[in-house]
């Protein structure tokens, strides 16, 4: 695909983000964007804008599409949950491409995450290591998403529910909890005889009283309207 050639074309070495902001509708930056996807995978970084830009170029010139790159973008998008990035990517990928086996698997995985069926998710992911494990940090990212949804929902969550959602059990879970107690303010209590209960940090979503009452506040610009009268 002449990738090397392409890289040398920019001796001043623009960053990919700069390339996109200079001209997002330029077919010549396609190889740079593909390399950038691989870079995001290896360096555990993420740029939705760059990836959408690449999917758009594929949409304009389907013959240049690389299935492998699209798969990596989709795994990265799953890792960005709870953001809707996975759907955003699917909107741009032609239906016949979505019929490929590995994409069907990813769509099923996304469905389990979207509907918070973590048990099924981890089972399915385990069956498809070849797809998800090429991207470092996958497990941690999904665990972070699971914890995010749990924190929106629970003030106190039973240990078993947590264990299932993040797919960690036994001693590893003890270690994980220790870490969260030290760093994230989690607290462990004894439940009603049925194992531990974990108190998650309070936020305005699992404790609605914390929600700031915006209803009573008036934006400054509205107040400025009566300044002339007050003076």
């Amino acid at each position: 695909m002449g990738r090397e050639r392409e890289v040398q074309k920019h001796p001043i070495s623009y960053t990919v983000e700069q390339l996109i902001s200079v001209n997002p509708y330029n077919p010549d930056i396609l190889p740079d964007l593909e390399n950038y996807v691989n870079e995001q995978v290896s360096s555990q970084t993420y740029s939705l804008d760059a990836n959408l830009c690449l999917l758009r170029l594929y949409q304009f010139e389907p013959e240049r599409m690389s299935i492998q790159i699209v798969a990596r973008i989709l795994v990265k998008a799953l890792m960005a949950m709870p953001a809707p990035d996975f759907s955003l990517c699917l909107f741009l990928i032609p239906e016949r491409v979505q019929m490929e086996e590995q994409f069907k698997t990813l769509i099923v995985l996304s469905h389990y995450l979207e509907t918070a069926r973590f048990r099924q998710f981890w089972d399915e992911a385990a069956k498809n290591r070849s797809i998800v494990e090429v991207v470092p940090g996958f497990e941690q990212a999904i665990q972070a998403y699971a914890i995010h949804v749990l924190s929106l929902t629970y003030q106190k969550v039973p240990r078993s529910v947590l264990a299932e959602a993040i797919n960690i059990e036994g001693l590893s879970l003890d270690k994980f909890l220790e870490h969260q107690i030290a760093n994230a303010g989690w607290i462990i209590e004894k439940g009603h005889g049925r194992g531990q209960l974990i108190t998650l940090p309070r936020n305005e979503f699992n404790q609605p009283e914390l929600k700031k009452s915006t209803a009573d506040s008036i934006p400054l610009e509205h107040v400025t309207r009566i300044f002339p009268i007050l003076s």
Partner: protein
Amino acid sequence: MAASFDYEGEPATYEDVGVGQRQQQQQQQTELGYDPNFVPDSVKTFVVHLYRHIREKNVYEIHQMYEGSFQKLSDRMFKESPWPSVDAVAPYVDHDHVFRLLYREMWFRHLYARLSPTPKQRIDSWDNYCSLFQVVLHGVVNMQLPNQWLWDMVDEFVYQFQSFCQYRAKMKNKTEQEIELLRQYDQAWNVYGVLNFLQALVEKSTIIQILEREKEGLEQFTATDGYDYNGGSNVLKVLGYFSMVGLLRVHCLLGDYHTGLKCLLPIDINQSGGVYTCVIGSHISTIYHYGFANLMLRRYVEAIREFSKILIYIFKTKQYHQKSPQYEQILKKNEQMYALLAICLSLCPQGKLVAEDVNTQLREKYGEKMLRMQRYDDEAYVLYDELFSYACPKFITPSAPVYEQPLVNYNQDAYRLQLKLFLYEVKQQQLLSGVRTFLKLYSTIPLGKLATYMEVDEPTVRSILLTYKHKTHAVDSDGKIASNADVDFYIDDDMIHVVEAKSTKRYGDYFMRHILKLEEIINDMDRVKVD
């Protein structure tokens, strides 16, 4: 499927309906003798005056002729035939290069609206836009044109692009000549070309910087509706401004909602009196696409709020547009936005965000359907399908066909994909309306009890509750979480605590409004005394 048939036969697009009939009419016209070189006196007068007003920078008169005379003449003399050719009128306007481009732009627009363009005419119209935008981009114009006209240029440019993509994708019945033409002019309406023109207009106009500087009080743009009172040209600036709306629309047509919204970011849609609101077509197009993109991004509250605002605006002002050539289009978009609002409210029942008059209209139009959409059975999906198909943008596949393969139609592919993904989302939310109903009945309820009521096991009810939280808490582009939930709750071990959002009255704003009102009345009374 009924829904996709509806989509096909969308009446507002000019080309799909009765093409054969139109072509016949056209043929009759030629037989009756449409002579492109014949210039009736009224047209002579029209171009001479329009040309003079443009040279004299008389925006008011230009606007009158553009909105009024052009339509009147079209209705009277060119109902079923094109206007005289540009070469025929050129002698009356000093063969002025820019005027020729402007005239042709109107000429094609009229042709698209009333007749049906031939493939060659589509390509010629693209060429004309290229020349016109090149002239503007190279900064050699010093004209002042009405905002309405500038908006129409951008709007029509995107419309013709969309129309071309639809035309090109219907490969099945293409003649060999047509295919040869498409191959030969493969740059015409090329998606890169279209996007780059819009992008270039945004950049060259420095409109983003202008809007930034305006916020700091260093420059005026909004206050003068984009016009330059010192005699400078408004053309590039305003075209650049409207091109941001154009980019939003193109990205929506491509299914790229995130990027579309990003293109609109420099325009603060909450600012009252923004330039995008000074042309009704632009106002509607902006909010329609903004709302649709937010719907697809699951930011229902934002979509509901903006749809409600524009619908109440149309409700109050539509009588003033009855004579406008855009009136039909306004009504059509109005109806589509009601359908989108019905979808949003079915997924996110926040009726209190909707203005009262809009709510009444909505109940009339969709009340019964919305009730059925709450049920999430097969019939409900049919309704979601129907409303979405009726109200969605006319999605396009931007790539050229593969001519070597057997020729198949692919003009529905993009629409089918967006519909499928949307219905997939609906399906993921199907159990939420049930859980919502139960939660509303209790202030606390044990998980096990809820599971029994919903006829599922406990792990499933936990998943449903987590799904509810996930789907009702949208994440915006900065990663901030915003709650869309009408009923909220939290779980403490096995107990669900329900918190219904109370509708708090906004006393603050109420008092502010009345302080201002009182002051006005006192001022009025003071004046009376002086008299």
